[in-house]
């Protein structure tokens, strides 16, 4: 299946500098995910099929990766910087995401699940 035809994907980054938006509420349609050794917070993200959602990723310690092969998504997750990924899930189910930048002894357990409802 050619997901490029099914998923609107936008990857963007913005240097946040200083007080990045970890504490502020996510904007409508945005879900914030924080990466740290060796977990994503939250590690389960629920979205609805057919509705655009933007994942806002940042790290609190070091560079990590965010990879979700089922949607063809992978980006570096940087300390003190927000990276955005927008997608419109086209089918329901549970889809794994994980860190793909080796980050230490717990790296192999650093993963989460995108749950697409509906």
């Amino acid at each position: 299946m050619n997901r490029r035809h099914l998923i609107a994907l936008l990857i963007g980054g913005s240097a946040a500098g200083g007080a990045i938006g970890l504490a502020r509420a996510a904007a409508p349609g945005e879900i914030q995910i924080m990466a740290s050794k060796f977990e994503f917070t939250p590690d389960t993200v629920k979205v609805k099929r057919g509705e655009p959602v933007t994942l806002v990723l940042t790290s609190i310690d070091r560079i990590h990766g965010f990879k979700m092969p089922d949607f063809g998504i992978r980006i570096d997750v940087m300390p003190d910087e927000e990276r955005r990924v927008t997608l419109t899930p086209d089918k329901a189910g549970s889809f794994v995401f994980f860190c793909d930048v080796f980050c230490g002894d717990g790296h192999e357990e650093m993963s989460g699940t995108l749950v697409v409802e509906g």
């Binding site: 793909d100 930048v101 080796f102 980050c103 230490g104 192999e108």
Partner: protein, 291 residues
């Protein structure tokens, strides 16, 4: 050497394991002038320094495997370690201490032509710096009895990339080869997308496979997944080896890669591999200790 001969001497040595013969060099025209057969041993994923329930005998497994390899009735021409020599640590001094101790232990091998390659546990946190201090280059080539060996590094980049520079180096090396040359590629991670959702892949491995594809007699030996596994990309065979520390789950059996299963010695989950090379390849999986 014929396959039956290989089995015979392994039985005589009490080391017979599972033998797997593959059409290693499908494009090869066997000639009387072909260089004599040889064999080498692949050892992978020793993870020296690991402590945990996945291997209650972790401090002794490597030494036992060395006894097994030293006991082969016919000494291998060389031995190659395909990565994760040591278990990862964020302490650079401890990383070097583990590499030093690992090197001391494997010096007991009675074969002195030993080649080392890094895994992500050795190299990804410092881009291969400590590995190079102890073992030299992380990617290189060598030739043995008419076979060209290429060791590729897909771990020094923490994002599991070979990188454009190494790919250009590979392309330049391959330009010197003839289409029917016998080529053996050694690497740590699978070059192909074995299970992308478990990160069992190389980010730009497909580019390496594309470069290798014009050559008719190519085989890849790798580690990383801690189990025997065989896969074809076109005419190129990829063979994963067992580890010497703990087994991993069968590829793709769960959405997320699960932790190592409980250690069960009766399943013979650990071992090394003898590879006999002629017009074909014969792989014999060797258990850790004599049976």
């Amino acid at each position: 050497m014929q396959n039956t001969d290989r089995r015979d001497f392994l039985k005589l040595a009490g080391l017979a394991g599972v033998t797997f013969t593959a059409g290693l060099f499908p494009g090869l025209e066997v000639s009387a002038q072909m260089a004599p057969d040889f064999h080498f041993v692949q050892i992978s994923d020793t993870h020296w320094g690991y402590k945990g329930p996945a291997n209650p005998d972790a401090e002794h497994t490597l030494e036992k495997a060395i006894v097994t390899v030293n006991g082969l009735a016919k000494k291998p021409d060389f031995i190659v370690f395909t990565g994760d020599l040591t278990h990862t640590t964020e302490d650079g001094a401890e990383r070097r201490a583990r590499m030093k101790r690992f090197k001391e232990i494997v010096s007991a091998l009675n074969v002195k032509d030993v080649r080392f390659m890094p895994g992500e546990h050795d190299a990804s946190l410092d881009k291969g710096a400590a590995f190079k201090e102890f073992f030299g280059a992380t990617h290189y080539t060598f030739d043995h009895k008419g076979v060209h060996f290429i060791a590729l590094d897909n771990v020094s980049d923490p994002g599991a990339r070979l990188g454009d520079e190494q790919l250009a180096w590979l392309a330049a090396d391959l330009k010197q080869r003839r289409p029917d040359d016998r080529i053996v590629v050694l690497t740590h991670r699978p070059l192909f997308d074995l299970v992308p959702s478990w990160d069992w892949t190389t980010a730009d491995g497909a580019k390496a496979i594309d470069l290798l594809m014009p050559y008719r007699n190519v085989v890849v030996f790798y580690g990383h997944i801690h189990q025997e596994h065989h896969h074809m990309t076109g005419h190129i065979a990829h063979h994963a080896a067992k580890s010497l520390i703990f087994p991993q789950a069968t590829p793709g059996t769960q959405p997320r890669r699960p932790p190592p299963p409980p250690f069960d010695a009766s399943l013979a989950p650990l071992g090394t591999r003898d590879v006999s090379v002629s017009s074909t390849v014969t792989m014999t999986e060797l258990p850790v200790t004599r049976t």
